[in-house]
């Protein structure tokens, strides 16, 4: 089976939010909620500066904390590595959202279910790229099968000088992987947590 994942090249990303808007339109994400958002942080002192523009979304973890906490089995992992929500089974109890260390889930009040990035599964079914990947004008995103050595994603990851994931301490093994963090120390951390 495939192991679907995404690379986000932070040296290319300009934080323009084309991905976030494309996601919002494609998936009709309600006002006040987002499946995909951008963080911007500056590092250093004038004039020795770096800025990290970092899109964030569901990491489709290989070890997803949102799945085992689900009381109805609505949160599940597909064989090709997507973390999905079966909206028919979901009771919107919020356990998955609370378990997610990335704050990637929200309750879709209109639909009454937990909502989040699903790598635009409906587009994948038609051999289209996720909306965020397709629109990115900075070529910052690569989507595909991490296990296929001939895929672009595997090649780009192999060639990258540096790759990071969010909160590796959580043991979640994210499949949204960040390349070329602008700070020598890697990804910037939350200023405050909890």
């Amino acid at each position: 089976m495939a192991r679907l994942g995404m690379l986000i090249d932070l040296s290319a990303c300009v934080g323009c939010a084309a991905c976030a808007v494309a996601c919002k339109m494609e998936n009709q994400v309600p006002a006040g909620a987002s499946r995909l958002w951008i963080r911007e942080r500056e590092v250093g002192l004038f004039p020795n500066l770096a800025v990290e523009f970092r899109p964030e979304q569901c990491n489709h973890c290989e070890n997803p904390p949102c799945v085992p906490v689900c009381p109805t089995g609505a949160s599940y992992q597909t064989k090709d590595g997507l973390v999905e929500v079966d909206v028919a089974k979901c009771i919107a109890c919020g356990a998955c959202a609370a378990a997610c260390p990335y704050d990637a889930r929200f309750t879709n009040k209109k639909g009454g279910y937990a909502d989040k990035c699903n790598f635009c599964a409906h587009r994948l079914a038609k051999d289209q790229q996720p909306a965020c990947v397709e629109t990115c004008p900075a070529y910052a995103r690569v989507f595909g099968d991490l296990d296929d050595p001939n895929s672009e994603i595997a090649k780009v990851l192999k060639a990258a000088e540096r790759s990071d994931v969010l909160r590796p301490d959580q043991g979640t093994r994210p499949k949204v992987i960040y390349l070329n963090a602008p700070s020598k120390k890697g990804l910037t951390q939350e200023v405050s947590d909890s």
């Binding site: 300009v14 494309a22 599964a121």
Partner: protein, 766 residues
């Protein structure tokens, strides 16, 4: 944009252990999770984005009477299948409940600016305008009506209609408030336009020097793509900016220049290339005139001298010049679009082009390509009385003299270029000199958020006999008009073709995704219906827009139906000097037929034939220079009522150097008022305390600070740079209005009491 929460239940993955794996979910079964619109019958129509003026070719996905999604398409050389955030948010504008819905006539006896209107039929509104126009023609002549506009529809209202009517006073902000200096300088140097799609061969260049160029914050789609491509191909990037911009964050080197001293830096770089013999000698000999004069002129402009002006160390200036030379001709200083900075801007752009020429990059790979316009004939009409005078983002039009019986444009003689400067056409509305302008059309332009000196503009509007606004939203200047005409949004209308001068010249089609909502009408229809009523029927011989477009398309051997299935027609160009030399010609339409380092034409007109350095106006004690730029998710003052874009960024903030903030007692998240040198106050606006800007300047993004009660999301958020630009410095060559000689001080302000954008969106439904 999103704060961490998660205090309700904390579980670490390690504690959870093994995870369950879902059943045999196939890719096809995933389609079940599709958003509702995606599962219905979706039709796609070719459109042209107008959420900014880059105007990418797009496909709109339509279900019934609603567009759900727009995307780029690969065959279009602008979008190439991708789209920026503003473009993606297009449908949110069409379904904005705050849109103008019916023609409106100002209630008799009310003052302009009171905002009191009654609904009218199109018939009544157009008759009203026509009667007033014919009266003004009788009393003051056709030149007494001015036509201002911006966007694809400006072809109808700022080019065609005034030329048919007989007014030379037609102007677009994209000239004298934006590109005029770089375009006029390009004409004097290369004898060619830069043009609306900057002709840079990004993918092949190896060394890029950006001066005040905001790629990344300016999300012009193709440019952003190609900048990224250039960097992936190994190009090195140097960014010259008083602010650590997004582009600076992507650069190999940032030069935090003292604002307004860019020409000093350019002259010093020229000095190094010449004194160290690093320039492209063969190129200079073959394609240029004036090298001897340049060599003599440049002697005093040493890097040590430039360090005093720019605060960039001389050795850094030398080093960058040498690096440029190492990569020539694949080294380039791409001209930025908004070049009206300090008033001496044409000369700064001349310096930039001279430097580019020394690198031998014009018409060569990795440098400037030579853009050609696509071939497409006009619809045959009787000869218009005047030539369109407004120009556009490809630069000013050149109308040297008006034909007999027509007065010259009202700003003639104020500057050298043969075009109109929009801000200079306000003055005759106030003073009546050199002759009165008594009528005004404003199409798509935001008069208060584009033209400097808002108090003067308001005075001018209050003195007019006729003021007509054609727009899609009740922007504040719109609510001053005598008659307001609601245009259909671009997704709902045909327009004329958009033709793009390019490496591969192309023609783009815009067709409606569905009928216009409410009682709005497309611009082409409004222009034709008005034309009929003011005696210009002969100039609008087409039955309807489809016939107009079909006739034009026949001139390139196609028809409208075929174009509807293509979206874009691409032609071949002549991008390289070698293409021209094969035909024994050169592309330079200058007096000498070559690139003019020394400009005889400027000398004859009484201007410096080679650029000199003028120090910028000093920052007054206690003030900061007001710099401004763009948000990647907004376009000028046009998108601040778009719910999706406002959720991304609902206000601007003022960037203040962290040390200065500490000195003034400001903390991150505080709010401030900005007060300019003339006492104009804007805000409250949130403070961004940052290392990313010098101590002598503050920065805000343009487009916020709306004072428009009818625009629920935009009203009262942030600060307007335009309102603070009560002064400008006229560039006496291009007519450009230099906007960076305005200064502000900061005062503490309370946080504004505003509902969140999300709450407002939920309240109004939509």
């Amino acid at each position: 944009m999103k704060l961490p929460r998660r205090n309700f239940l904390k579980l670490s993955a390690a504690a959870v252990g093994a995870v369950s794996v879902g059943g045999a979910v196939t890719l096809t079964s995933r389609a079940k999770a599709a958003p509702a619109w995606y599962t219905k019958e979706v039709t796609q129509v070719f459109q042209i984005c107008e959420n900014c003026f880059w105007r990418c070719g797009i496909k709109a996905s339509v279900v019934g009477n609603r567009v759900y999604k727009v995307d780029g398409y690969k065959e279009n050389p602008k979008s190439r299948g991708m789209l920026c955030p503003r473009g993606q948010a297009a449908p949110a504008q069409t379904y904005d409940p705050d849109r103008l819905k019916k023609p409106l006539i100002r209630i008799e006896g009310s003052q302009r600016g009171d905002g009191r209107y009654r609904e009218a039929s199109w018939e009544e509104a157009l008759d009203y305008i026509a009667k007033k126009m014919l009266g003004l023609k009788e009393q003051y002549g056709t030149e007494s009506i001015a036509f201002f506009g911006h966007g694809t529809g400006d072809g109808w209202f700022v080019d065609f209609l005034p030329a048919a009517w007989g007014s030379p006073n037609a102007a677009k902000p994209s000239v004298s408030l934006c590109t005029a200096p770089r375009e006029v300088a390009a004409q004097y140097t290369f004898g060619r336009a830069i043009g609306g799609h900057e002709p840079i061969d990004w993918p092949n260049t190896k060394y890029i020097v950006l001066i005040g160029h905001h790629i990344g914050e300016d999300t012009h789609n193709t440019q952003l793509q190609e900048f990224s491509e250039a960097r992936k191909n190994g190009a090195r990037v140097v960014v010259v900016d008083p602010r650590f911009s997004t582009a600076a964050a992507k650069a190999d080197r940032w030069l935090p220049i003292k604002p307004g001293t860019d020409t000093a830096l350019l002259l010093a770089w020229i000095h190094v290339l010449i004194s160290e013999n690093l320039y492209d000698q063969a190129f200079i000999e073959k394609y240029t005139v004036g090298m001897d004069q340049l060599v003599a002129h440049i002697k005093p402009y040493t890097p040590e001298w430039a360090e005093q002006q720019t605060e960039i160390p001389a050795q850094v200036i030398r080093q960058v010049a040498r690096e440029m030379a190492q990569h020539k001709p694949k080294a380039i200083l791409p001209p930025t679009r908004h070049t009206v900075w300090y008033g001496n801007d044409t000369q700064r752009m001349r310096a930039s082009y001279i430097l580019n020429t020394l690198l031998g990059n014009y018409g060569r790979e990795g440098g400037f390509y030579i853009a050609m316009a696509p071939y497409l004939e006009k619809y045959p009409t009787p000869q218009l009385p005047l030539e369109p005078a407004a120009g556009g983002c490809a630069g000013p039009a050149a109308v040297v003299t008006e034909p007999e019986g027509f007065k010259p444009r009202a700003d003639k003689g104020k500057f050298l270029a043969n075009t109109t400067a929009i801000q200079e056409l306000i003055e005759p509305m106030v003073s009546g000199q050199p002759y009165p302008i008594k009528g005004l059309f404003a199409y798509g332009i935001n008069l208060f958020h584009a033209i400097p000196n808002v108090p003067r503009t308001k005075e001018a509007l209050s003195k007019l006999d006729l003021y007509v606004a054609i727009d899609v939203l009740p922007q504040e200047h719109v609510m001053w008009a005598d008659v307001i005409l609601p245009e259909a949004t671009y997704l709902e209308r045909y327009d004329d073709f958009v033709t793009v001068a390019h490496k591969t010249p192309f023609i783009q089609l815009r067709m409606p995704a569905h009928e216009p909502l409410y009682d709005s009408k497309p611009g082409w229809w409004i222009a034709k219906e008005l034309g009929k009523r003011i005696g210009l029927e002969q100039f609008f011989p087409w039955q309807n827009i489809e016939e107009y477009l079909d006739t034009r398309m026949q001139s390139v051997g196609l028809d409208l139906e075929t174009m509807k299935s293509m979206g874009t027609m691409v032609q071949s160009g002549k991008p390289w000097l070698t293409d021209w030399e094969k035909e024994n010609s050169l592309p330079f339409n200058t007096l000498s037929g070559k690139i003019e380092l020394y400009s005889e034409a400027l000398a004859k007109a009484g201007f410096d034939p080679l650029p000199k350095y003028e120090a910028p106006q000093a920052v007054p004690e206690g003030f900061y220079r007001l710099l401004y730029g763009r948000s990647p998710v907004h376009t000028f003052a046009r998108t601040q009522n778009n719910p999706v874009l406002m959720e991304m960024e609902s206000s601007n903030s003022v960037w203040l150097n962290a040390e200065e903030a500490a000195r003034l007692g400001f903390k991150p998240g505080d709010h401030a008022y900005l007060i300019n040198q003339d006492g104009v106050r804007e805000g409250p606006v949130r403070l961004k305390v940052t290392q990313r800007i010098r101590k002598d300047a503050v920065y805000i993004t343009h487009g916020f600070g709306h004072k428009a009660k009818g625009m629920a999301l935009a009203d009262g958020r942030g600060a307007s740079d335009s309102y603070l630009q009560t002064r400008y410095t006229l560039d006496r060559i291009s007519g450009g209005a230099g906007l960076r000689n305005n200064f502000v001080k900061l005062e503490k302000a309370p946080a504004p009491k505003l509902k969140s954008v999300t709450q407002l969106i939920k309240e109004r439904g939509a």
